[in-house]
């Protein structure tokens, strides 16, 4: 399979919308056609070759790969609605990284902006740095946030992490901002570090796992005392694989709090005393 390497010439003056630049569709084009693919830069269409030096090379990987090299903090919607293949970002990414993606893998060695993995339905995203607000959340005007797949953030996450998330796995090894896991519908959110204010606000179902902190929850969360050791063993084994604060969690049994009863929710917050 081929790897197409886009090396940034210089940061663009305006934000660039990378919608439509996905591994499968780009790999199907010849090198000349790839260079002429256009993206929105501000309010005009600009050829990719204006921003990047493009190189196509054969690789052993079975899936086509796009490698983006440079500071892409102004490049939004990388991997938008991605439906296969792999994207490697050697640097930072802009907003909406991997939003709406259904399959494939994205690896970002730096930070990602707001709305990373929002409404993602499948695949896997690994961000080595931090992500901005609204990661794995819903877009404005939409009912559901992340709907499947996995987002793993080795750094920190901003506010409204996993807002209205419905399915999938979201692991943040660092800290999370205010309103983590708000209005959670289902799925699993694991946070290794500290939390901002109002975690699990309006939570309906799903799991918020806190590896290190005792959350300040409202009185609409109540303790549940039954034995969850079987379920916990299954979940802990999955989460422990992310290492860091999650390593060895399976050896301890968490406290379980149920809520948010303010919205007749039956979600669970798992934490350790």
């Amino acid at each position: 399979m081929i790897e197409i390497v886009f090396t940034l010439k210089s940061p663009p003056p305006l934000r660039v919308d990378m919608r439509g630049i996905a591994p499968l569709s780009v790999a199907a084009a010849n090198p000349e056609a790839i260079a002429q693919l256009t993206v929105w830069h501000g309010n005009e269409r600009v050829a990719l070759a204006e921003f990047f030096a493009i190189k196509v090379r054969e690789r052993r990987e079975t899936a086509p790969t796009l490698r983006l090299v440079g500071d892409l903090a102004r490049f939004d919607r990388v991997g938008w609605a991605m439906d296969g293949g792999r994207i490697e970002i050697d640097g930072d990414a802009g907003d909406y990284l991997g939003a709406l993606m259904t399959t494939g893998e994205i690896h970002c060695s730096g930070d990602a902006g707001m709305f990373a993995a929002c409404e993602m339905a499948g695949g896997r995203i690994l961000v080595e740095g931090s992500v901005g607000d609204f990661a794995a959340a819903t877009q404005p005007g939409s009912m559901d946030g992340m709907r499947g797949g996995a987002l793993v953030v080795r750094g920190n996450a901003g506010e409204r992490l996993g807002d209205r998330m419905r399915r999938g796995l979201l692991a943040v090894l660092g800290n999370a901002g205010d309103f983590a896991a708000p209005r959670l519908v289902a799925g699993t959110i694991a946070i290794g570090g500290s939390l901002g204010a109002h975690p699990a606000f309006g939570m309906r179902r799903g799991t918020l796992l806190l590896a290190q902190v005792q959350p300040q929850l409202t009185s609409t969360f109540v303790a549940s005392v039954h034995d969850i050791s079987v379920y916990w063993h299954l979940l802990a084994r999955q989460v422990s694989a992310f290492g860091g604060p999650f390593e060895g969690l399976g050896a301890r049994l968490p406290r379980r709090l149920v809520g948010d009863l303010a919205v007749e929710g039956r979600g669970e917050v798992l934490c350790f005393s």
């Binding site: 399915r167 999938g168 799991t207 969850i228 379920y231 299954l234």
Partner: protein, 302 residues
């Protein structure tokens, strides 16, 4: 052909395609896992009247189970995927869900999915919780000792049912001793079960009956009581007890390996232990596509 003085008949066991699944039942300790597995595999000796054939494949250590608790591996076989799905749901619902502290998981990675906890979850009356972990979906159903965790589906694969050995002995003691030794050896073979009581059946059957309502009736050719009465008897006067071991396996080679292990265990005891012949049941080779020739197995054994 003689092996340690025991005659190996020039015949073969005829086996049939079946559908199978493996379930992993775990519990707080091995005793409760065993209670659930024994209950679930009860009344599952033959598809003729039980709906399925089921048995305990192996006891599992904590390291071998998905939830790190002691467990039991169970194999279930039926004539169709639909019937197997029905039996799985009924038996897990009545025998595993009900047993204290148990959980149940799919034991095969590949195959067609059928419901395991998918419908049993409704026992939770709306309080059940779904959780996707990795590639598997689980259901957590609140019950009086905590929660019953079960995987949503289990996989069904093509399998082989009806491998068999007939042990022809001078008396009941010799037949029982040989059968027990054979079953003990066969239980070390993975992917197989011997579904009858203690792994052994004394009422081997033939297809059909003089009574039109019966699909099967006694295998008169191997009944010592009829040796001198019917012309079609396969026995000689010194054979006074015959026991059969039926084997169901996930693949043809699994059944073959189990038959080999069973024959080996019997022939190692020698003719002095009272078994004169080893034979097998078939229908002339016209009904089942899998044929296990005893002398080929014995040759491999030699």
């Amino acid at each position: 052909m003689l092996v340690n003085g025991i005659a190996i008949d020039d015949t073969f066991a005829e086996a049939f395609p079946m559908k199978a699944t493996r379930l992993i039942i775990t519990a707080h300790d091995a005793t409760w896992a065993s209670h659930a597995a024994v209950s679930m595999t009860g009344f599952a000796t033959s598809v003729i009247a039980c709906g399925c054939e089921a048995g305990i494949e192996a006891d599992l250590d904590r390291e071998q189970t998905p939830d790190g608790r002691p467990g039991v591996s169970v194999l279930m076989f039926a004539v169709s995927g639909k019937e197997l799905a029905k039996q799985v749901e009924r038996r897990v619902g009545q025998c595993v869900l009900t047993c204290p502290t148990t959980a149940v998981f799919a034991g095969l990675d590949e195959g067609e999915p059928i419901a395991l906890g998918k419908n049993l979850r409704f026992f939770g009356d709306g309080w059940q919780i779904s959780k996707q972990i990795g590639d598997a979906r689980y259901w957590r159903v609140p019950v009086m000792d905590g929660e019953f965790v079960c995987q949503e589906t289990t996989s069904v694969v093509k399998a082989v049912g009806g491998g068999n050995l007939l042990l022809l002995a001078h008396d009941v003691d010799a037949a029982l001793g040989a059968a027990a030794a054979a079953v003990a050896a066969m239980r070390h073979v993975p992917n197989v079960i011997m579904p009858f009581p203690g792994g052994v059946v004394r009422s081997g059957s033939k297809v059909g009956s003089k009574y039109s309502a019966l699909p099967a009736s006694t295998n008169d050719a191997y009944c010592p009581a009829l040796t001198s009465v019917i012309a079609s008897s396969a026995l000689t006067p010194e054979i006074r007890a015959v026991l059969e071991i039926v084997i169901d396996g996930l693949t043809e080679s699994d059944v073959s390996a189990a038959m080999w292990a069973g024959m080996n265990a019997v022939t190692q005891r020698g003719v002095e232990a009272g078994v004169a012949r080893i034979s097998a049941g078939n229908y002339g080779g016209k009904l089942g596509p899998y044929h296990f020739h005893l002398r080929e197995l014995a040759g491999a054994q030699a």
